[in-house]
């Protein structure tokens, strides 16, 4: 009984609507994160090239209770003379639960004078954050902290 002549050119018919709705459902069914993120340990190992990063010799300072995960102050300091022989080459920050494990990689050198950096990061939920430092001699060290986040990042109103 369907008479195509009644349809205006370019009109959006019932069938088109059903097709579009089905396509929409398929899109919604796809996992929000198609690619699985690496675990905290895998992320650290990809930075160190598989080498161990024993704890100690540096400090990662984050408030242990954070109210707003959108801007969490972080300070990393490494015990180092920052001379030509003994300095920090890179400092990397990784998280455990965000959609992506990387937070940042900082490139330093003897010219930095002091191995201390600060920034502000996003945390999606309560989790562990780790800082890994690569020293001038190629060795690694690390420091990790557990953070409790009461208001997570990434859920703010989009209006």
């Amino acid at each position: 009984m369907r008479d195509e002549t009644y349809r205006k050119p370019g009109a959006f018919g019932r069938r088109d609507f059903l097709v579009a709705a089905a396509a929409g459902l398929v899109v919604l069914a796809l996992p929000a994160r198609a690619a699985a993120r690496p675990s905290l340990d895998e992320a650290v190992r990809s930075f160190t090239g598989g080498a161990e990063a024993p704890a100690g010799g540096m400090r990662l300072e984050i408030p242990s209770l954070v109210e707003n995960g959108n801007a969490v102050g972080v300070t990393v300091s490494v015990d180092s003379a920052m001379s030509a022989d003994d300095h920090v080459r890179r400092i990397a920050l990784f998280n455990e639960m965000n959609p992506q494990a990387d937070i940042a990689v900082f490139h330093l050198g003897p010219r930095a004078g002091r191995a201390r950096i600060a920034t502000r990061i996003r945390l999606a939920t309560a989790q562990t954050v780790i800082a890994v430092a690569e020293m001038g001699d190629g060795s690694f060290r690390s420091s990790e902290t557990n953070v409790i986040v009461t208001l997570a990042a990434c859920i703010e109103d989009l209006s």
């Binding site: 490139h107 010219r111 930095a112 600060a118």
Partner: protein
């Protein structure tokens, strides 16, 4: 228009370690959020920051979506000679923002 704030001491003694703070206004869109129409908002972050003292790069950072909006960075350097510190931020769209500061070393 993007605004950047940088904090560098105007003068310093030779060999003194000075602290530098740099912040720029940028949404740092993660690419993990959905808009109101159900379409993912594309990622748009500043992925690289660098600071040059004269001709030498003294500090750089690779940034990821876990860095807060309006990225703030604090670091330090040794005041060696009077000169210019140049700060460069590069975002996903390939845009670069540059700011500079003069320092006098006595």
């Amino acid at each position: 228009m993007t605004r950047a704030l940088i904090n560098v001491p105007k003068t310093a003694g030779r060999g003194e370690i000075i602290e530098i703070k740099a912040m720029i206004s940028h949404p740092m869109e993660t690419g993990h959020r959905m808009g109101t129409n159900g379409v993912a908002i594309p990622r748009d972050i500043i992925h690289r920051f660098s600071c040059r003292y004269g001709d030498e790069e003294i500090f750089a950072a690779d940034l990821f979506p876990a860095i807060s909006a309006n990225p703030f960075l604090a670091f330090s350097t040794v005041a060696t000679t009077s000169g210019t510190l140049t700060f460069t931020w590069t975002d996903d769209a390939g845009q670069t923002y540059t700011e500079s500061a003069e320092i006098t070393v006595e």
